[in-house]
Symmetry: C2
Subunit: 124 residues, 2 copies
DNA sequence: ATAATTAGTTTACACTTGTAACTCATTTTT
DNA sequence: AAAAATGAGTTACAAGTGTAAACTAATTAT
């Protein structure tokens, strides 16, 4: 491993806290995670440690009571690589194939898809 | 594990052969995989064995020289669950969010997306 | 029929991942 | 100041995963 974009499922939950809440201390991260699923503080520490190890997160002194953890990659950057490997793994890298599948299996209807495209059009 | 939709990356490559080429023998699968990446026959055997174990594949006698392996789930069925968990993990389950991201990060352009929707429209 | 090959099954092993305890230093409380 | 709590860093461990060897039974070639 040792690639900052190679983030496991549990690690991702930590990154999402950092992305959503900004730089945080261990305690803050644990508190935030607890909103959805209880997680032992030590577990979070290990996860943070691994993220620091692969440089997806850096820690910095925070006046006295502990460290502040910060993501070194943005969520968008991460999503981009994650999307790409998902597409590659299941759809030969083709977004078209993915979307056709979504429509076929009713994950999204043609109408919704059209509405979405219209929205994108009018936006700009 | 022990869920037939819970398929690892290496196992998926075997499933893809079965989906693309239909029921196949071990030798055929190995030959097909070798087109893209060399893989030890024993490795393929283990992978097949694990797939049989979780019932994503069944094997049946094939007049003499070996067994025929067949997928018990279709590619579409598999993709549907894979899509869902991908969306859930990264986009709070929202296709909309995913598509917005694709457009934002230029994985697909608005034009291409529109063309695709038009195609879906005219199809039917 | 005996040797060689092949396929099915079992076992192995290192690395990854989820989960958490342990240690030691620092900070806070009494 | 001594005791208690907290946090950083380290270590642990079982389950999952990629990869492949070993063993055994069946099939094919000589």
């Amino acid at each position: 491993m040792q690639n900052k974009y190679d983030i496991t499922d549990s690690e991702l939950e930590i990154m999402q806290v950092l992305w959503n809440c900004g730089n945080s201390t261990l305690t803050e991260i644990v508190a935030e995670l607890d909103k959805t699923k209880k997680r032992n503080k030590n577990t979070v520490k290990t996860l943070l440690y691994r993220l620091v190890d692969k440089e997806a997160v850096i820690s910095s002194k925070n006046g006295g009571q502990g460290f502040l953890y910060s993501a070194t990659i943005t969520e968008k950057e991460y999503l981009k690589t994650a999307n790409k490997s998902f597409l590659k793994k299941l759809y030969e890298g083709s977004v078209q194939k993915l979307l056709l599948n979504f429509v076929e299996d009713k994950t999204i209807s043609k109408e919704e898809l059209k509405k979405l495209v219209d929205m994108l059009e009018s936006e700009e």
